[in-house]
């Protein structure tokens, strides 16, 4: 199963109401698009840089970052969500356990 990003169609809401899905708007390689069923998809897994821009941008965390099988034969995945001045990462290990990181990503006006 070649993977770079995995989009969970059960979670993806297609960013309905927007001219383009947020992942489609942001992908630096122009790889994401919205299918006719209004679910996001990636057009070419082999062109993905695994930069995680779409993972961070997705407001419902429908997108996971994974590695291509040739780089690692065990499954692991990574999700992120942006919360104000922090980015919160969750890493799922191959054995199922997870690790969370909360990292400052922006200085709010008062701190500058």
């Amino acid at each position: 199963m070649p993977m770079s990003i995995f989009i969970d169609e059960n979670i993806c809401n297609g960013c309905k109401g927007l001219a383009e899905a947020r992942c489609e708007r942001i992908c630096p390689g122009d790889l994401c698009y919205r299918k006719e069923n209004m679910k996001a998809a990636i057009r070419d897994q082999s062109a993905c840089w695994t930069c995680a821009a779409c993972v961070k941008e997705c407001p419902v965390q429908a997108i996971e970052l994974r590695l291509p099988f040739q780089a690692c034969s065990n499954g692991a995945s990574l999700k992120a969500r942006l919360k104000h001045d922090k980015t919160i990462w969750t890493v799922w290990y191959a054995d199922g356990h997870q690790e969370e990181f909360i990292i400052q990503a922006k200085c709010l006006k008062g701190d500058r």
Binding site: E20, C27, P28, W49, A52, P68, I103, A105, K106, C107
Partner: protein, 558 residues
Amino acid sequence: MSIIRIDTDILIIGGGAAGCFAAVEIHKKSPDCKVVIMEKAHIERSGCLAMGLNAINAYIHSGQTPESYVSYVEKQFVGIIRKDLVYGIAQGLNEAVRDVEKMGLPIDKNDDGTYKKRGERSIRIFGERLKPLLAEAVQKTPAQILNRVVATNFIYDGERVCGAFGYGVRNSTFYVVRAKAVIVATGGASGIYKPNNPGVARHLMWYCPWNVGTGYAMGIRIGAEMTSFENRFIALRVKDVHAPTGTIAVGAHSKQINARGEDYLERYYKHIGGNKCLTQHRLLATIEETKAGRGPCYLDTTTLSESDERRLKEDFLNMNPQIVLLWAGKGMNPRNKPVEIHGTEPFVVGGHCQAGYWIDKERNTTVKGLYAAGEVAGGAPKKYVSGSWVEARIATATALEDIKDVSLGDIDDSIIQIEKNRVLSPLNKKSGVSPLEMRERLQKIMDEYAGGISMNYVIHEERLLEARRLLKCLKERIKDMTAVNNYNLVEALECVDRIDVARVLVEHLIYRKETRWSCYQPRLDYPEKKDERWLVFVNSIYNPDTDEIKMVERPLCQ
């Protein structure tokens, strides 16, 4: 096919680190100046900084000076750098960093508010959102941002650059942007050589795969003088995911060890300070150890404490999340197992090495009306992101001064038609060469005949001459390229640009008949460094009428 015509004062091509900073800078200096940014992707997450950044590697700490910075860069590049350019950058580094901090970038600080020293010339940042922060600063200015518009060529009347053409992939529209001045601020070139990972993992690479040298190629095609393409950059990176090793070596003080656990940099470079050797030596020694049967080589992360390890993972999430994923997939922690390293494919860049436009101190290129900043500007290696900001500042000052007596040029409709037809021609063909076939052929030629990974990066005359011949043949097939949609068309245009860059690169590699930069430019037929002959810049000028690349030498300046 509709055409959108836009007139502006200054056009910035490439909305990356340099391009965004330039737009903000112009607004600060001259609020009435009209600015357009032409950006291939979306400025909030495009180019090198799309993943984020965890350190700024060009910064002057207390006790150091611009002079000491120049000496350091000169030593790293074995005597060939443009000292005037590097000095100008060094003078502006700290101010530029402070400006970006004010945009909201979190920086690791001491209790007294000064930036914490990470390495001799670096500071630690929390730059996961560096690119969105730069974009936010641009979005506060009235600059017009053309996202998803791929620059295809400069508008050039033979004397002066008067704008640029672009193709909008979302609206299938051809853009004609006239400007009094154009600042080229695009990235370097990846995908010239066969990458480390094949097939579905082909883009699991260090450098941004959509930086394909378009800014170089556009300049080459109008005869702008280019410098030092032969100073390729080959990075020492974490195997498979190609995350930077500096985060571990500098950020976490880990040593390079071979399969036997020996600190091999100490063995090779004891005479020049062991682990304090040049950046290129770290790679060279790794290649030698592997050849000698003492590989794989690693960064020894087993000395890290639990909190060091957590900090390391945080740093990588800010810049290269896929390495954290790799460790999770392998079920390993770097504290328990050293991290394997190897060399990447060669890249053509002006931020780590010095390939790019030949410019003067004011960032004028050799073509009137065209200014260069950041990765595409040559002669000033190790400028990285902060140096790119400084160059953007200098280039905007020059451009603003220059446009005072300039009016917009007239563009003949026939020129627009010719460029539009060239750009769109792959869409109008039913069969032919696909962009994928074209890219793979280019990468194979470069890998095998111009010193790629499979050749351990080495080059010599006979193979390079074959590369020259094969690239010329390949260029003749560009007219047969096909594309089925806009995405595919961009891939086709990327091939055109990469081939132009590759041909110039090969001429530079042929011309420098010495080995100046050990593994970046290792010539089997001229293995020695010859200061008496080659302490010069190797430059090139392409002639679009004859399709010839003329090589010229320029002296070092003091």
